[in-house]
Symmetry: C2
Subunit: 342 residues, 2 copies
DNA sequence: CTGAAAGCGCTTACAG
DNA sequence: CTGAAAGCGCTTACAG
């Protein structure tokens, strides 16, 4: 608990002024080598460490980046947080994390708390669309994955990624497909769904029609399981032959439901996810999905935030299809198939 | 980007001194109601928000709690982090999170960074035993789940919890059991293993002998899968009838391996975990495990940290057995069974 | 109960 | 290149 040494102590020990100490600390200004040497010696002799609070007060700048996510126990967000922390660290910044529990009021107050704390910048994965509007924002703010207010967005190209899945399923011959969508109040949820739907509509025009059914839920395991259970609790001929989910968690829930109903995946049913969380490669069967490049997203978000001046343009990163065991050829042509063949 | 109003602005607007403003802000000192009123009006009129940095510099105290975990993408730690954030928020504190990636040097430097930042206190889930020794620690530090340095530890009663699992498996008739242990350089890993082993030894004395095999790994999915694959790639009569893992992640990996090898769980093999992460209830089959009460652990850690004076005694919380589908009766008496029956 | 003033530990014009 | 001094926005003895 000994009192920490200050610049003043260092200055005395080195026989220079505090200004000089500060200048060698910053490394910016030119200091005569002899003095620099003395100061550095004093610093290590005393075990001096700069007081970041004082520095922050003086410069009204810190090296802390604030991150707000809707739910840190969501594996995708945890992944994102880990990547951001790494990216921030590489730039000499540290991370302050807050979880909004999908509550836009909590989100709002976390952002305010960060602002009060004079963080260097804020990255937020919005809890829902329309949150975060009308913010004073004295520091740069970046939306990640889901738009927050009107701040620049770094995200996966949800439309492109969803299209990848649509093509994959159609290519496997599936013509009766169910789509488990994410919340309609999130842009990510909507875009993924719309891109998927419009791709299927496109196929209907040039090839075979697709019987597409859409169910809406949250992005979590439970939603996926519940919805899939509904979808699959029908006579076999009325069931979809493929379920495309808007998140890996939903897809894993769907796998669970299929298993409970003794529906063989992928022989009787194909299931696909979205995100490529680490678990996707561990479930049974391994999940076909589209990878969101968390590392790249994190890196881009941090660098937009730290850029001078801060970036203002949206950025988009393509997803990539990861084919694993949960998707396969459509079981067999339906007897009651409508639409033409080519 | 307008300059934020300060106490001085408020004081002028209210026609009082800055001291008075500060006093109504703190709520501690007595202030004449008329003045208090004026000050409050000025505060809302100007939209004044206290500058936390200045306050921190002056009082050398903040309301930030630092948390270091070995890996935020580990679902158990994510759960813990979420619980701690909630507990901290309830006490008007916010959370600063760092992930050490199981590297004790990174851990060390994160702790230093928190110290530099004059956090209110630090909670650390140690990356391994022996990390965090000889720390100056100008603020309270609490170890959570795994001991950090010599700081007080809040943890699940690993021994009691491991015993619960041992009893469960023995009670189901299993006599050839493999235990997938956690890293031997973590206390949690060692205690869980030792308690399990010693319970089994106890049975050997009073009942039937247990053929116990131990394999060591990390706490993650991959370790569990790899080790289980080894364990199970033998002739059926040489295989364990039950695998107890030191973490849910390992157990889920083991489930994966069993599935790949077409070994029916629980009919041919029982598998148990440890933690009760949310996924445990979603894998196929659902995982029998022992629940670590994350919420309670978090709450206790935060309250020890914030107590005046800070708590110094270790605290332990019991785990509870959660029986699900991955464990069942031992397949059938072995022909080559040694040991007596009772 | 209230005001005037010192000071937390830095950084940064300002002189020299 | 270096020192002396002001000041970031607060809180808190110290008088009164």
């Amino acid at each position: 608990m000994a009192k920490m040494p200050t610049v003043k102590d260092v200055a005395e020990h080195a026989g220079v002024s505090v200004g000089t100490v500060s200048r060698v600390l910053s490394g910016e200004a030119a200091v005569k080598p002899v003095l620099r040497e003395k100061v550095n010696n004093a610093i290590s002799a005393l075990g001096y460490r700069p007081n970041v609070t004082a520095r922050a007060l003086r410069t009204s700048r810190t090296d802390v980046i604030g991150l707000v996510v809707p739910d840190i126990t969501n594996p995708f967000f945890a992944q994102l947080a880990a990547s951001i922390e790494r990216a921030a660290l590489e730039c000499g910044h540290s991370l302050m994390l807050a979880s909004s529990h999908n509550d836009s009021e909590a989100e709002q107050s976390h952002v305010s708390a960060f602002l009060d704390r004079a963080v260097r910048g804020i990255i937020v994965v919005a809890s829902s669309d329309g949150s975060g509007l009308e913010l004073p924002a004295s520091v740069p703010v970046i939306s990640l994955d889901r738009r927050f207010g009107t701040f620049p967005l770094v995200s996966t190209n949800h439309a492109q990624a969803a299209t990848l899945i649509a093509d994959h399923l159609y290519g496997l011959g599936h013509r009766r497909i169910a789509y488990i969508a994410g919340p309609t109040d999130t842009e990510a949820g909507r875009i993924r769904k719309e891109a998927f739907v419009s791709r299927m509509d496109g196929f209907a025009k040039t090839g075979e029609a697709v019987d597409l059914e859409i169910a809406y839920g949250r992005f979590d395991y439970e939603s996926g399981e519940r919805i899939a259970r509904n979808l699959l609790s029908r006579r076999a001929q009325d069931r979809p032959t493929a379920i495309a989910a808007a998140s890996d968690q939903q897809a894993i829930g769907a796998l669970r439901a299929a298993r409970d109903l003794k529906i063989d995946v992928p022989r009787k049913l194909s299931v696909t996810g979205f995100d490529d969380i680490s678990l996707a490669n561990l479930v049974v069967p391994r999940l076909t999905t589209v990878r969101q490049p968390a590392d790249m997203l994190a890196r881009r978000a941090v660098s937009l935030l730290l850029a001078e001046p801060p970036g203002t343009a949206d950025e988009t990163v393509d997803g990539s299809l990861i084919v694993r065991g949960s998707s396969g050829p459509c079981p067999q042509p339906k007897a009651d198939m409508t639409g033409h063949t080519n």
